[in-house]
Structure formats: structure tokens, C-alpha cells
Amino acid sequence: MNTDNLLARPAGLIGDLATVARRSLRSMVRDKEAVIPPLIIGAFFYVVNVGTLAKLSEGAANVSNYEAFQLPPAVIFAVTGLSRAGALVTDIQSGYFDRLLATPVRRIALLLGLMAADFTLAFVLTLPIIAVASAFGVRFTTGIAGMFAFALLCGLWGLAFTGFSYAIALKTANPAAVNSAFLIFFPFAFLTTTAVPKEAMSGWLQGVVSLNPVTYLLDGLRSVVTDGWTTQIFASMAAIAGVFALGFGMSLLALRGRVNQK
């Protein structure tokens, strides 16, 4: 048998990751129906909340700049749950995932490549929502660097949350189950300082809010917009890291189960 002159060789982790991410990004550009709704949700959430709650909150909850206060939750609503998990389910169901497994691709690259593309999309989606907030007069006290850090943190949060979606996709290969992953976000999104600061909440809710990592994420993001560079950004990073560790760990286990369905 001929084993000489092989054209094929392992591409390595970085090469594999770049190939998976390249495919995902190309699909995202063509899959506008998966990209535009989150953008609309974020912008809609921002405009409606500012329009309906600004005066109320600035008075009762003592928020000095409600337009800036609402920017982080609007972006978090847009980027959370944004992933290629649905496309992954399609790949599994169509057999394309098996085709990839029959190549020498590093298995973890199949997950990391998708996540890299998700991070890129979440980062990019943050920018138009910042533009909407700018139209409402929001200015970053930390300048362009702060705006970049803000988008970076939002991108990382989006990335951290994708772990749950991929875990469900890999475990179930069921599109309905993947869609339901958004339900996980509800307690994260509403048991926190989305609408008003923690101080304005009733006692029991303050306790719950203190346990929610999104609270620390929002605090850090708001500080970058209105307070300057503070240590709260580290709390944000820690919250993201914690959620990432949990979600990524679950998705890795699910990937191992899928690859080793043996």
C-alpha cells in the first residue's frame, strides 16, 4: 500500500481552530436571520426601557444617567445565547459532524472554533448598540479605550454563555432543546440590576441579586461607561470567568460524550 507522498497531515490545534472559526464566520455572514434579531432585541430593549423608565428611575432609584445605566443590559440581552449551537445540531443531524470527526481535526477545535466565531460576533454586535446609546447622548468617560474594553467584556460574556448552548446541542442534538437554552438566561437577566440599582430593590431580592454573576458584570460595564477605570472591572472579569468555567466545562463533557459515543 502507498503511504508515501501523503498530502494530508494534522493541521494542529491553531490551524483546526482557525478553519472551524472561518467556516462559522462565513456562515454567520450568510445567515442574517440569526444575526439581525439579537441586534434588534438589544436596540429595542434599550430604546423602550430608556423611554419608559428613565424619568421614573432617575427620580425614585436615584440613577443620575439612566441612558448610560441601560446600555450594559441592552447589550447583554443582545449577545447572551448568541451561538452556533443550532448550526452544530444541523451538522450532527446531517452527518457533517461525523465527516469532520473522520478527519484528523483536533476534537476540541470543533468547539473552540465555534466559540471564537461567537466571540467575534458578540463583540461586533455590541458596537451598533453603543451607537444607538450614543444617539441618546451616552458618552464613555473612559474614551475609546473604555468603549473597546466594554465591547471586549460583552464579547467575552457572550462567549462564556455559549458553553451552555453547546453543551445542550452536543448532548441532545435537538434544535428545540438548544432553543430552550435561552431560558437559562432568564434568572441571570432579570434577577439582577437590569432595570434599577440594587439599592432600590426589596431586601430578599437584594440577596438574590448579590449571588448573580450578571450583577457584577453590569456593575463593571457601567463603571467603564460612567465612572472611569475602577476595580469593578475585575469583578466583571471574575463573573465572566466563573460562568465560562461552568459552561465550557459542561460543553467539554458533552463533546467528549458525543465524540466517544462509543
Partner: protein, 311 residues
């Protein structure tokens, strides 16, 4: 390293309590087209998945291109191409993008990818469609692209799992041509599973028949056909075919008789000499015949003889 391009010894696979493959031995020489026949659920796809490193065997062992499928999976993957059941493609990409992407997974250089994409587009005769989204392809075009995707890295062994299932006759013939060209021009060993006996007959140098997770026969198509006798007499009857079968089996020169619906298949060492006596015996026994045919045995007859069922 082993002499055969594909070798399996006692290959087994269980899923919980279900034994899908119960101990398969295979020996496929380099450059052969090897047909792997069996009905749905016989263990064909499970065997292919084990040989292509997608499933671990739960017993026995197998080597492909000289490497163990369990302990040297990456070495195997570098040398095999796989086209699984139904076209496993990405509808959002163009054919060219998909081929290029596949080449990247095999660590191929940009120039090698370009050369291979050009060569494969000519092999599968896909023309301008290569730059169209795959979602717009017909079933036959998608299957041909699927085949090309399996070949991007110039594998020495290709596994094709039911490559023509669901295709119209023209598309099926086109795939057959490509498989032959691939085998002859590029010296690729082809392991082909199929439910279509005429496909194995037309393409395969050797054929194995699997039923219930076990190999029930192996050989060249001619060897297998000869193994059941020289000729086959097919009789369609009205009334009880079991009665007809009992009568036909008692005619001198006639071998085993199988019943399938209202049809009996009589294996005869000399069909032209036996067909008259069979007709007379059935008529004398009160069997009403609606047709009677004499022909050479086909793989379908072999399959019927060995498994008691038709594909």
C-alpha cells in the same frame, strides 16, 4: 503493518444489550472495490464507522492502511476518505468552499488545495455549480460533491456508505462511473456498502454479505453466484406457494427452493433440462402457474439463498 489494506479480525460492536456486529473478519487487498452487502440493520454502517474510526470496536481488531483503527486513529484518518449515508454537506457553503475547507482540516497547503479542487471538479464533472451554494444542488450533484470531499487529500482507501441510495437511475450510473474511474485512475481501494445487489455486481471485485451482524458469504460475485448452482427457475404461482416448492424440490436436478410471496425460486444444475420437468410436475400437482422464467443466478439469488430474504 499488515498485508491487506483493510483487515478485520473478530470485529464486534455492541450498543447496550444489542450486538450490532458480532465478529466480522475482513481482508481487502489494495486497489480492490469491495462490496459490503446487507439489508437495513445488518451491521453495514456500524462496520464502516468502526473501520473509519468513528466508533470504537467493543471486540476484535481492525487495521486500515496498515494502522490500527483504535490505537492509531489519526494515522488511519490521514489515509482514508469517508462518504457516509446521505450527503453530509454544509448547504450554506459553495462546493468550492467546502472542498477547500476539507483540505484545511487535512493540513494541506494552499497550492495543494487549489490543485486538488481543480482535479476533483473535473473528476466529478460538476462544472460551474462548484461556485454555487450546496443548498441549490440536486441529489446527484450533492452525492458527487460528497464523494469529491472524501477524496480531497488523496486518500488510499475510501469508504462509501450506500453512495447511491435515494438517487435516480441516471445519477446512480454517474456515481458508478466515478467510483470506477477513481479505482482505475487513482488506484484507490474502495469499501462500498450497498443495499443494491446490482450495484455490487457492477462495481465490486469481491463481495461480502452481512446479515444480523455476521458475514454469511464472501467471494467474487461470480464465485458467489456459482456457489448456489448453475441456473435459477423462477415460478410465479396462484394458490399455496409452499405446495409448489415441495413439488419443485422433488424434481431430479433441482436444488434448494425458496419461497418469496407468490414466487418460488428453484436452483437447478441444468436449468434448460429441468424447466420442463418442473412445469410438468407443478401442473400434475394442481399448481396454477402464471409465469415461469429461466435465468442465470444473480447476487439477489445468492442473498435469498443465504438469508432467506430479498433485499
Amino acid at each position: 503493518m499488515s498485508d491487506a489494506t483493510i483487515r478485520a479480525v473478530g470485529l464486534k460492536r455492541t450498543f447496550g444489550d444489542v450486538e450490532a456486529v458480532k465478529g466480522v473478519d475482513l481482508h481487502v487487498e489494495a486497489g480492490q472495490i469491495y462490496g459490503f452487502l446487507g439489508p437495513n440493520g445488518a451491521g453495514k454502517s456500524t462496520t464502516v464507522k468502526m473501520l473509519s474510526t468513528l466508533l470504537s470496536p467493543t471486540g476484535g481488531s481492525a487495521t486500515v492502511a496498515g494502522f490500527d483503527v483504535a490505537s492509531q486513529a489519526t494515522d488511519v484518518r490521514l489515509r482514508i476518505g469517508v462518504a457516509l449515508q446521505s450527503s453530509a454537506l454544509d448547504a450554506k457553503q459553495t462546493g468550492r468552499e467546502l472542498l477547500d475547507l476539507q483540505g484545511r482540516f487535512y493540513g494541506m497547503t494552499k497550492s495543494n488545495r487549489a490543485i486538488r479542487v481543480k482535479a476533483l471538479s473535473e473528476l466529478i464533472d460538476i462544472g460551474d455549480a462548484l461556485d454555487r451554494p450546496i443548498g441549490t444542488y440536486s441529489g446527484g450533484m450533492a452525492r458527487r460533491l460528497d464523494l469529491a470531499t472524501a477524496l480531497i487529500h488523496q486518500p488510499t482507501v475510501v469508504f462509501l456508505d450506500e453512495p447511491t441510495t435515494g438517487l435516480d437511475p441516471a445519477s446512480r450510473a454517474s456515481i458508478w462511473d466515478e467510483v470506477r474511474r477513481l479505482n482505475v485512475e487513482q488506484k484507490v481501494t474502495v469499501f462500498l456498502t450497498t443495499q443494491y445487489l446490482e450495484e455490487a455486481d457492477a462495481l465490486a471485485d469481491r463481495v461480502a454479505i452481512i446479515d444480523g451482524g455476521l458475514l454469511v458469504a464472501e467471494g467474487t460475485p461470480d464465485e458467489l453466484k456459482r456457489s448456489i448452482g448453475s441456473d435459477v427457475i423462477i415460478v410465479t404461482v396462484t394458490g399455496d406457494p409452499q405446495v409448489a416448492a415441495t413439488i419443485a424440490s422433488s424434481v431430479p436436478g433441482c436444488g434448494p427452493v425458496d419461497v418469496h410471496g407468490n414466487e418460488i425460486t428453484v436452483v437447478a444444475t441444468n436449468g434448460s433440462a429441468s424447466i420442463g420437468p418442473v412445469a410438468i410436475a407443478l401442473g400434475a400437482g394442481g399448481v396454477v402457474m402464471t409465469s415461469m422464467t429461466l435465468r442465470q443466478p444473480t447476487l439477489d439469488d445468492v442473498f435469498l439463498e443465504l438469508t432467506g430474504a430479498r433485499l
